[in-house]
Assembly symmetry: C2
Homo-oligomer: 284 residues x 2
């Protein structure tokens, strides 16, 4: 595995690989890799000639007061995980490499960026789409893999790619979970022992929603109401939102239509840790 | 010369050319081509294996009330000029090709887009950077050529390319002028005979500024004051701005520094026609 830090160097490398007809698969991450990331790298591995994994904790997608400075980092362990999952090139730029002092541009997807997570993190997706556009330009991929855990991010990036004609296939890899159902996340290390135990309610509430939908429930309010009741029973849980939404336009769905699909998603804080999770459910 | 209208088709063509190792030169235009455009195409011709010229009157860069609907169009003549200047592929998409109904993304360069022209056309450069980003993604150029007449556009695109790592060389081609000095522009056809005569003052005033700077004048207010006096002597002229600014950050310069360069630029309305022009002057 080759490790590059300079944007110019990765761009030249990617250009040369494209000229050789190589199909590049990109997996952008913020590092502190876990089995969820490894599964995305393996998807890229299976579909590409060259896999580029990037590790960059992107300051532009954190608001003041969010967890940018304490976001967990462990580059040595990341190198091992990235390599064993099948990465050919690991790109680990510094913040100064990516955002020179006079940096002043942005890529923005309207509407989608203001819903769900966007209500609680208003500038977040502007930071995400800008860094992903930069990484796309630097690494020239044919395909890029994003995790379903950050479903809104994946939907927005897919829209950006379509609107701005990037010509890159966006693949959404399934969420990988701990044995007790908690979605893997670099942020799980923030949880105290008690919060960690309580956090399993998130997946249980999503499974409950799935069961209810399969049983014929069509009223989103009834579905989310039951989830909110379950989650609120945990003493440390503070709900930001629980939502049933359309998988393309992310608008709230009030009444579920047969033969459609919905995203059931949530964001819940346990102490100072904010967790998100979701499932995509076919409506029978 | 090959003429393509479909975004998917030009993207596949450009991808294939890149894989063959071809160096693509792009010349984005709004059509109604004149010798100014032809000179940009010839620059691309000299520096590329394949020249792609695009013709698209971009609705996103016109405000309501501006001249989008009456902007002059003559595709048959454009084809001849594009071909004879050396275009290999002419890309002529429709508005529906470029902006599907749910289009909702944008590329924006902050600060630079709010100065000079941006004060009078607040959403203009957002439309320019978004369409140019799309054209870059569709045509995969190694270089792109823009005219100096739209100097702020060229400076902003250069900044976008740097900030977002497009990896494309931006070349600024010199302004081509009529024998009496008026900068060639598709909009010149709007001018009445009387306005056309008066419009020569624009270039005369820029030449005056150049003469004054060469003679040692360092006070921008003195330089623009004389220009404003010259232009205002024309009965139909209404000045939007006359400016001396920095060629990189476009900020107003109050006192010219030796061994620097400045842009002297202006926007003046004659009746319903708004003209812009500029010169780049080395300060001795």
């Amino acid at each position: 595995m080759n490790i590059l830090q300079s944007p110019r160097e990765i761009q030249q490398t990617a250009d040369a690989l494209r000229r050789e007809g190589k199909r590049i698969g990109l997996v952008p991450t913020m590092g502190y890799l876990h089995e969820g990331h490894a599964s995305l790298i393996r998807i890229a591995r299976a579909k590409s000639d060259i896999v580029i994994t990037t590790i960059f904790v992107n300051p532009m997608q954190f608001a003041p007061g969010e967890d940018f400075s304490r976001y967990p980092r462990d580059l040595e362990r990341d190198k091992k995980i990235a390599k064993s999952a099948g990465t050919d090139i690991l790109f680990t730029p510094t913040s100064d490499d990516i955002y020179p002092r006079d940096f002043n541009s942005q890529v923005y997807v309207d509407n989608l960026s203001t819903l769900l997570e966007g209500k609680f993190r208003p500038m977040h997706f502007r930071g995400v789409t800008t860094i992903v556009a930069k990484l796309f330009h630097l690494t020239k991929p044919s395909l890029a893999v994003f995790g379903q855990k950050d479903i809104q991010q994946a939907v927005i990036i897919r829209k950006m790619v379509k609107d701005l004609d990037f010509g890159i296939e966006i693949i959404i890899g399934p969420t990988v979970r701990e044995p007790d159902g908690l979605a893997m996340s670099s942020r799980n290390v923030y949880l105290t022992e008690s919060e960690r135990k309580q956090s399993t309610v998130l997946h249980r509430s999503l499974r409950q929603a799935e069961t209810d939908i399969h049983a014929g429930e069509r009223n989103a309010g009834t579905i989310t109401g039951k989830m909110i009741e379950m989650i609120s029973a945990q003493p440390s849980a503070r709900i930001d939102y629980v939502s049933v939404s359309d998988p393309v336009n992310l608008q709230d769905v009030a009444t579920l239509r047969s033969s459609s699909e919905v995203i059931v998603s949530l964001a819940v804080r346990f102490g100072s840790t904010r967790l998100i999770d979701n499932i995509i459910v076919p409506v029978p």
